[in-house]
Structure formats: C-alpha cells, structure tokens
Point group: C2
Chain length 435, copies 2
C-alpha cells in the first residue's frame, strides 16, 4: 500500500519528538499500521534548524498554509499551539478535506465545537490524544475502552508542572515560591508559569474530558478554575497529619441537576493511588457504573511521551482515512446528533467535603460558637485539630467537614469570619474522597 | 441504522453482566455507537434461569451451534469458557462469517494462532479485551494507544485472586492456607483454586500481552509459571523490612537474545504504584521507548467490570463490521504478515535481581564462604540481613543481589546448599525494580 503523507506544522518540542519517533520506530510502526507513514512537508519558523534536523528528503518552508493546501498531504499535524493561527490552519485543513491531528488543548477547549462540526460536515477526522495527559491514551480509553459505561466522574492530575511543585513542597517542606523558581530552572515550569500554576492548562484538558465523559459540548468558559499559587506549606503539612495529600485536580462529575466542572487544589487520601502520583507524572481516575474505578498513569508532557500520542493518532487516522465516517469513533465519543445539553453547575452548587483552617482567640466558647455556625448551615464535622497558633494567645482550628453544598460552606465561612474572636480569614480547601 | 444483532453463548457471571449492562445503558451506548445493539439469541444450559432473566423478547435455547449458525446474528459473544467446545464454536462462528467477542484467555493463549488466522482468512474480527485484566482497556491501550512505541517490557498484576491473598497475607500477617480458605469463603477464590494460585490464569493473560507487545505468536507453552502456594509469610515480612512488597507478576521483556515470558511472585519496591495495588485489583505497567512507563489500573474480574470490556468490544466491532479489513486493527497489534519469530527465552536465561534466604550455622567464616560462592558465580550483593534463626545455634541470612543471570544464581544456590554449615534449602525470589 502507498505510504501515508503527513504535513507537519511546527517543529518545536513535540514536533521534533514526532519526527524522531516516526523515524526511529518506522519499522515497528509500519508492522502495526500495515503501511508506512512519511512526514513529507513541514512548516517552521526557523528554516536552518529544521533542515539540520530533517535532512533533504523533506520539503521545508515557512508558510503553514502551503502545507495545509498541498494536495499530496493526507494528514495535517498541527503542533504550533495557540488558538488564533492554529484555528485558521485547522479549519483550512478541514476545508481542504484533510484529516487533522493536534496536541492543542487550548484550541479545542475554546473552539472545539466549531472545529468538530466543520470536520463532521466535511467527513474528516480531528484526533487529539496528545491534548490531554501527554502519552497516556486517556482519550482512547474514554472514547472507546469505557464505551459500555455511564461515566459518573473523572478526577485527574493533568498538569505536570503543578504536580511537580506540590510534590516538592510536600516532600521537602518548602514554600511555593521557592519550588516554583527551582521548577523554572529545571525546565518543569515556563518563564511565565501562569497558565500552569493558575490551573488554566488543567481546565483546558478537563473541559475535553468532560465532553468525552458526558457527551456535552466543550465549555471551557463554564469551568471553575483555582490554581496553587495561594497554597500555604502549612496546609500541606496539616493535610498530611490528617491522612491526606494536596493535589491540583481536574474534577468533572455527573449530578442529578447538572455537571460539575472544576479545577482546584484538593485533599485526597494519602493511601489512594492519586495521592502517590509524584513529580511531573499525570494520572486520570475515571468512575464508570459498570467498570467501577479505572486509573491511567504516565508522563503528561515532554518531547517523546507527547509524540507517542501524536503518532498513535496518526496511525489511527491512517487506518480509517478512507473508511466511511460511520466506521469512525465520533470526535467527542458521542454521536454529534446525540450530544446532551446538561448544564454545567456553578461552583456554589458543587457538593463535596471541605478543609477549613482559621486562627481564633484561645478562649472559652470559641469552638462551641464555630461548631454552632457550621451546624446552622447544615454542615457536619468529620474531624478537627486544635493547635497553638504562631500569634500570641491564639489557636488554630482545622476542621474536615462531611459532604456539604459549597453555597452553605460559603455562608458559614462568612459568618465565621464576622465573629469577633476569629483573627484570620478562613482558608478553605476541598476534600475529595474519590469513592 | 438497523440494530446490530448479538448472539450470546453462556449466561453465567460475565454473560449475565453483559446482558445487564447492555440493557441498563442502552441509551448511553447507542448515543456513542450510533446504532442500537440487541442481544437477540442466547444459548444456555439452564433454560428456566435464562428465561427469568431475559424475558420473552430473546430467543433462548440450549444449542450454541444454532446461535453460531443463525444467519440473522452479526456478532457472536462467547462466554462459556474452556478450550474445547469454545474452540469449536469460535471456529464455526468465523467459518459462518461472523465476528466474535470473547473473554476466554485460556482459549486464545492456547489456540490463538489458529483462531486469528482463521478470522483473518475470513475477514472477520475476534475481539478479546475482556480476556486480560477485566474492565481495564489494556488490550486497546497496547494495540492502539501505544502504537508509536517499541515496547520494552510489560509487568502486570493480572490475577485478582492471588493479589487479594497476598494483600491479606501482608496486611494481617497470616499464612497462605488461612487466607486462601477465607478467599474461598468470600468468593474471591474458586473451590479448586489451582488455576489462579499456581499462576496459570496469569500466564494465559501474559501470553496475550506478550504477543501484543512484541508481535510474536501466542506461545503459552513457553511461559515459565510459578504460583504463590509455596510462599512463606516470613518472606513477605522480610521483604517489607527491605522496602519491598511481594506481588504475583506477569512479566514479559524484550532482551537482545529473545523475550522473557514469566509469571512468579516478585519483590517490587514498596513505594511503586504496583506495590500499592491492593486486594483483588489489577494493574498493568507497560514501558515503551517513547512514552516511558504507563500504568493501567482497575477491576480485573467480576460481573460488570468484565462485561464493560465485552460491551466495549461489541461496540468496536459494530463500528467496523462492514468496514474493509484493512481499516481494522490487527488482532495481535501487528499485521499477520509482519509477526516476528523472536524466541522465548528459557527461565535460566532470564536476567533480574534476586532475594535469597537460608538458615546457616551461627559460626565464624560462614558469611565469608557464602559471599565467596556468590562472587565466584559473578553475583554481586546489594544488601543483606542477618538475624537469629528459630533453630538453635543458627542464623538466617537474607541477600538481595544486583542483576544476575538466573543460570548463575542456580549454580550458586546449588553450591551454597552443598556447604556443610548451611542448614536449609535456599529460598529464592526474584526482585523487579520496574525501572
């Protein structure tokens, strides 16, 4: 069979990795795919660097639209990132009747609905395994492996930078800023780390996972997002004392009145597998009604792990590129005409357990008053720690609550903060039992 | 589109689960598959029980060949187990041009080569996700998700019964026989537990994983198999002191001179995710050259987890049942004409690290002599414990070696056992660093 011709947009970390993996494992890959896969044309910004890597057999230029419009190209692989030029290129590739493989979570989280609709209308595939959790085949697992299940929830460590920072903060007892500076030096964090540390990258990925889980359109703008930059080492230590570790989780959950879609630091039981996912590793825990919990773990970023997912998509597309669209798996796991309009819940409508920490005057009646406020808001307490505070004549109180509605927690926090003997704002973290 | 007609052979635990999941999640599944899937005909032994479960809409009989030969059936789901009648039925279904879904690891580990060849010749699919690790989509991950990789090794906890027994032995300090009896009472172990506890079931599954990883024919007869029935609680405790837990692992590894294919108890580092897979859960760790390590975790058995995999296969087959065979993923991940004839290594040619325990006379020179025997066989020692033995005037020595050839270890053990001051046979366990 003739080889499949791939046009590559971008030759950065992932683009370079894709080139290397396809070259090194060409034999292994064609033994599986039944035909060879060739990158025949590449668009880059730096021609000299590209020619040094690619040699003379590949057509290298600076105009990505020339690649997208090249009639000899079967599959366009978009690895330039961003959501403006990338959007134009992907839509143009689709208009040209080409299949697309992309690692671009920001693009799909924001413009997925438009892009998938265009692809369906044109009868082409847009594959995006590399957009979530790098080399872990989580998209495939959710789209195909768990297809028998009504998915109940997904909870994932889907940002390696923040997991690296949290792992170091815990194991070495260091504050956020120190570890972030180290992570930047080691290349685990960008010079401008905002996207990672504020949870935006994780929310892009979670948005896609939620669509795959529940058959809802991608709705990044409805996600609730909190990062880890405000997290105190003290809370990491206290969590550990209580039998928990703090992870930045992306959580999406089906509830009777809608879908939770939220990224934030959360306490998870120390003995759980998710708590033991350390360093820059990623893991996604999925609960289906038939299968129960399954977990998928691996490297969520990096040159070759991400390329592993890009190339897997290229092989999948290669297999089905001349097949009837009905033979293909729908982009978001569910048929386009069978998507649901289940609403995304506001964060105030989320139900989970909470960790509350506050500094109070060390005097009689304080605990009774706070416990009363919680009880009045319908919140019951699972466990509690009281310890001397750094401030004179003060004590720190830490509560773990049972499941409660976030709106009620917020009401209770406002009341607690208005009490005269409460000397700090209330630190509030969510607790996920993952059961 | 017309619904897909499924004929079900067997309505035991997995068959019943398949019926329930397909019925309960019919809406969710057809939203994904784009058409509905109906079990229209079932063959069972107990008609009355089947009719009570299935109602009157399904044609129930006792002759499985009648189902297999029914022209209205698109997919035959074989869930009767065993490898004689099941083999005849699967081959007849293929001869009738029907696709097959099966959970039967014994059948495929022994007769896979014949069955897959027949299916390829006839242009039908034989899907077997449920044959390995229950509801975990590990077959799909290896056949498709990791297709860019040269797989280096696979190490899996792929038998829930033995993992449950080992977890209980460790956490409660009980001997094998006591825990086995409990497991039988709880339904985690069969009345005749031989297949599970002697590693045969794990070896069936490992044989399939090895084929998927390396593109070699299924060769169950070449697998090295040791179970856990001889494992002493004492070794579990000593392993823990040394920073390890003992798990029954299926390991297959690519080496320069062939492929390792072995099932046996092994020490794994206590901090590794595999060590923390407890109870009846399964997990498979796969190392690919591009992606690094990825891990897949979930329930490896049970009614609905296994049904989850069966139904996922039915949906996959439904999508591709009228597609050209070239559009389909090859049965064993590699194209039938691209399989390798890499030899399976004998256990003596395996290279790994070892745990050695022996009782010796507590007298000067003993340690020096044993260390000399090990050194002479080219085996270097990583760590060592000496402790008083239960027997008077004796000591127990426990060594952890660095990587060594098993043949050399066997030579050294024979020499050690021939030393006059050695009062026991040498207990030998393998140690897997999983790196």
């Amino acid at each position: 069979m003739e080889s499949i011709k791939v046009g590559l947009l971008g030759l950065g970390v992932v683009g370079g990795g894709t080139w290397k993996v396809l070259a090194r494992n060409a034999g292994e890959i064609s033994r599986r795919a039944g035909r060879s896969i060739e990158i025949t044309r590449v668009a880059v910004r730096d021609l000299a660097k590209a020619r040094a890597m690619l040699g003379s057999a590949v057509d290298v230029g600076t105009d990505p639209f020339a690649v997208v419009r090249d009639p000899s190209i079967d599959i366009v692989v978009e690895l330039i990132g961003g959501d403006t030029l990338a959007r134009d290129l992907v839509l143009e590739a689709i208009a040209q009747g080409k299949h697309v493989v992309t690692a671009n979570k920001a693009l799909l989280a924001k413009h997925g609905t438009e892009i998938f609709a265009a692809a369906s209308a044109k009868g082409v595939m847009v594959a995006f395994e590399a957009a979530v959790a790098g080399g872990i085949p989580i998209i495939k697992a959710m789209r195909e492996g768990l297809t028998a299940n009504r998915i109940e929830w997904v909870a994932g460590i889907i940002n390696g930078t923040t997991n690296f920072i949290l792992s170091e903060m815990r194991s070495r007892g260091l504050p956020f800023a120190t570890v972030l500076a180290e992570a930047q030096k080691l290349g685990y964090a960008e010079a401008d780390p905002t996207f990672d540390i504020e949870g935006v990258d994780a929310a892009h990925k979670l948005t896609l996972l939620a669509s795959l889980a529940f058959g809802i359109p991608v709705q990044f703008d409805k996600a609730h997002i909190e990062g880890i930059s405000q997290l105190a080492s003290e809370d990491i230590k206290l969590a550990e004392r209580l039998g928990y570790r703090i992870k930045l989780l992306g959580i999406t959950k089906r509830r009777s009145n809608g879908i939770e879609l939220r990224v934030h630091p959360a306490l998870v039981p120390s003995s759980s597998l998710l708590a033991n996912v350390e360093g820059a590793m990623n893991a996604v825990l999925v609960r289906g009604d038939a299968v129960g919990q399954t977990l998928y773990y691996g490297k969520g970023a990096g040159e070759e792990p991400t390329a592993s997912a890009v190339v897997a998509d290229i092989v999948d597309v290669t297999r089905l590129h001349t097949a009837d669209p009905e033979h293909r798996v729908p982009h978001l796991a569910f048929q386009p005409d069978a998507m649901a309009d289940t609403p995304i819940l506001s964060i105030e409508d989320v139900v989970t357990a909470y960790y509350l920490r506050m500094t109070v005057a060390d005097q009689p009646g304080v605990l009774a008053d706070i416990a009363r406020v919680l009880a009045d808001a319908g919140i019951s307490i699972g466990s509690m720690i009281q310890q001397p505070s750094d401030a004179d004549g003060s004590a720190d109180l830490i509560f773990l609550t049972h499941q409660a509605l976030e709106r009620n927690i917020n009401t209770a926090i406002a009341r607690i903060e208005s009490l005269q003997f409460v000397r700090s704002s209330v630190t509030r973290l969510r607790v996920e039992s993952l059961s």
